[in-house]
Symmetry: D2
């Protein structure tokens, strides 16, 4: 940390700050300047004491210098994390596809979707049994019944199952069926849930919150990793801005920044990112080109009659066309579509 | 709902939309226009079918006309809801103060705070036993021990206790001690938690999420009300924007809009709203003047040594000065400070 | 400035940065730390060279320590700036009212408005002769004809005129009539215009841009002050966020922060801030309570038939009621309404 | 337009609205509903009268149905606009590269840059002679001297020149040298400038404002087209959000939406979009994949010593590597890099 004193801070004020730093067990380094004095701090391992210093007389600002995350950081773990699920890897090169409906509506539709996607070579099936809905009056998912249908889809196709878990209570049930447990954007900072997931044996797909900074997102991943669970996949799904031409603003620029700062894989969800199926193919191609490790895309047998998120779901034909469009671009990028 | 057809939509397309509306059990009203045709829909009670129509050939947009919330709406409940806790009312006129530390750090500090605030006439004490923290390595609250200290503070002072509940699991424990259960901004759309709280006998203080629209906030309140719990207090605590001069952007303009649309009381949290104690008094006065039903403000015996949120906490002297500043303004507004 | 080296930066990299700082004429102060090394810089007067350093091998970040503005800063000018126009002061205590229509639509309406406002004790009249409109097909203002009507309103009532200037070309014409030249939000960073205004003898009212940070706003004021014009009034009129319950999000929290950092007066525009006349009174009271130096409010003889911004304009009766509501609150705050 | 009446609006209120619509020369279509009545309006060509209706008793909302832009709309002009400059086309297929420094710093550097880019097959050279800078104390560009150097670069290489124009006054001078006149993000709603440019014979590259919605951006283009100038190129360069990992948030999702709504070409500026050269290649590839018509990228002979925007500029080697990376991806997409 660095303490920046106000212009005109007195010697007494500067000395008091240095003494405070020493009393906290750290070492102060006073740097007198033409306009102001700054005081560097060494020996500390985190931002503890920052607020104390910020409130001392004569102090203008206290600037944090080191990042607050450890386990997710590429500095401490230079090799990329590679997650395996459903017989396919995510991370470390390659572009892994995951498709399926927003919610499991009935057995027939999820099995039909699974078989269609498997035939296209997709090895991860997404589908919600528990659904967070803005309205208490909207369809909330089939719950355990939905999990049973997902289990059958896995049994029949061998696909890995990606499904959302919404609370601590249902983690055990979801973990039995899921190959990857998904945390939705609204739960990105649901810390009791993240702590519970840190004890799971299954990978966690952590969606970025609607208003989450990169640091907050990585800190949420740090929660999951702070237990025994080192298998975290990050998922950019759009953030909330003033822009109204899409449902959210898909922030593709976070992909290369995540790659720089963290070893965790990061995938892109263009369905929630745009909210409109007609823009999903273009943003999927962009997600591939920007260097994401994969794609989470909503696919439904009959989007106009979907119980949720129909407007942003591709039908089978559209999804097959997207797969076809991705392959040559991936080849040109030297990336394998999985 | 209103379906707007594209310029150049064919008669067949228009007829197909009208037929679809009828097959859904509603009545279509075709409105031919100079440039485009619109089709009004009557007989429906919600937005069901909107997506189906939006995807039909020739359709440009489907516009929702009625609001999705019912129980929170002033249309269905014109009288203001008045919540009583700790012997004081919130809502229906009056400006109710609630103060206390971010987190209960030990027994001494919470008792000292309670007595100081009670002596100033404040009848609601806030303090967190369970704390959502961005870092897994930061102080997470005292948990049940903190609840016991809060219970003692209530026993000694008669103040009502406002404390946060973070998950379904701890609702029972928190409910035993709290007079008002607080839902934090990060949990505003934690639907399992909201559903559980809808079964509580205690009022719920629902903070606005960092990126929540007014409609989403009211829908979250609708979740709580959709069970048996009709006692909801809304709390504006700042939203996330590009602005960096305060920790969040306190959106005071939402207060009169909430008042117009809903019967629920709405209070303001200038501590989280600004993140800096020096700006709390000005924003508190503004919160009073804008018509809020009360204030949630962080007060700590020794802010520079607080374990969390010290920079935004007032000390006792500053809080007493704020109370003193509020009273004449309240009097001028014809509002009683409680 | 402070250079933060990466964890694992080599001695050679550190030495190279120190040498670069010296070659720039400044003094480096190396602060070795447990995890990283930081290098303080003294002797520099601004952020020059920041980018060079940021790109050197081993450098993680370069942190700016001092603010980039000088003339607007309270550090260099502790006394509040007081602007006088139309026989009334803005700044230095007091709450100055300015009212009038969005645009001057004809002679009759602006004269009628001026007389009504003058009768209420208001001494500043706003009204646009040149109007920035989103659509090229919308009413763009009366131009010079509008200026003539404003001049007559001044002649008849003695009120000071606040009117917008949109380009360098028309500054001379506007300056002849205006007592205060207004720069609209869209022109906050129109630097040729700001430079031209820095040569004017009349005060400038500088609206905050829709996406302007506090620093950018103060830097825009610095442009105006960097010539001979020291009379700048800042005006918060709402910023653009995701929130959709008001036209913009009126950021009242910027008022106390401006007061802390700058000596310039700051007023509030609740009409653009909310976009809806029904919420203007509440936000006006909040603007008074938060410590603003005045109010810019749209008043129109017949809002439903206004050529622009009718939805956010008060009629005379509503404005008179607002004035009446402001006075007791101002008295309670110890502030004089002017 | 559609008028939505409040629940419980009286027959008199409904009749009054219908009468008002008729008095405005339009035709009302009353649609009685189960909960509310709606009134469709036909015969109008724009949003005139919207505010009048919105303020009538019993009216809940007035919904605009048709878009306010005409000339930029694909509905009225289905064929893509193709702009030609410097012997290369922009729009209508193909991916056109434009590179060069943020500002023309001296003759040597701009000539060197031009020759290097030309050797890589790039046919458009960007470089600012007039620079909008946040600080009045920062380098503001060489002005006319810079224009002369650009003219020489064109003479020597045959490249087309893209350079910024900041005010009405300098349009004539810039037009003599430029092949494409650039309007910066801060000037996107500088209407006097847009009107002046609508009279130019040269194409205009219109950057999206930092807080501009798609509609506002298209309306700004409509200003330029509303004179005789039909050659407009749109440029997405990032918007302002809460995200802090990049300088701006590059909103690539606007590209396919622009393509749907408008016939104008749209290019992407990943340099301003990210603010950091290390992320420019990834976002350039994403811009290509998402369907943009080209790229505007900052290239400088020696970025660490650039007078402006060094941190986001590529050096020649990095730019050559980017060109090389783009070609196979473009080929896979069936797009020619120009």
């Amino acid at each position: 940390m660095l303490v920046v004193m106000k212009q005109g801070a007195t010697t007494q004020e500067i000395d008091a700050v240095a003494a405070q730093i020493q009393s906290m067990g750290f070492t102060p380094h006073v740097i007198p300047g033409a306009l102001r004095t700054a005081i560097g701090i060494t020996g500390n391992r985190g931002p503890e004491g920052r607020e104390i210093l910020a409130m001392m007389p004569g102090v203008d600002d206290v600037i944090r210098v080191t990042s607050p995350y450890k386990l997710v950081s590429r500095e401490t773990h230079p090799e990329p994390t590679i997650v395996t699920a459903g017989g396919v890897t995510i991370g470390g090169g390659g572009f892994t596809l995951c498709g399926g409906p927003c919610s499991v509506e009935n057995e027939k539709m999820i099995l039909e979707t699974a078989h269609k996607l498997a035939a296209l070579g997709v090895r991860l099936l997404r589908g919600g049994a528990y659904k967070p809905r803005t309205s208490p009056y909207a369809f909330q998912g089939l719950g355990e019944e939905g999990l049973r249908y997902l289990a059958r889809a896995r049994a029949e196709t061998g696909m890995g199952i990606v499904t959302e878990v919404m609370d601590v209570e249902s983690v055990g049930r979801v973990e039995e069926v899921a190959d990857i447990l998904q945390v939705g954007a609204r739960n990105m900072q649901n810390y009791p849930l993240l702590r519970r997931l840190s004890l799971c044996r299954k990978p966690v797909l952590l969606k970025r919150g609607l208003a989450a900074t990169l640091e907050e997102w990585l800190m949420a991943a740090e929660y999951v990793m702070s237990g025994n669970n080192r298998q975290v996949i990050l998922c950019e799904r759009g953030v909330r801005t003033f822009a109204d031409h899409t449902r959210n603003t898909l922030d593709l620029s976070i992909v290369p920044v995540v790659k720089k700062l963290s070893h965790l894989p990061v995938v892109v969800d263009p369905s929630h990112g745009t909210g409109k199926s007609e823009f999903v193919p273009a943003m999927s191609l962009a997600g591939l080109a920007v260097g994401a490790d994969g794609l989470l895309v909503e696919v439904h047998p009959d989007p106009p009659h979907a119980l949720s998120d129909g407007a942003q779901s591709l039908n089978f034909e559209q999804f097959a066309a997207l797969c076809k469009a991705l392959r040559p671009v991936a080849a040109a990028l030297g990336v394998e579509v999985r």
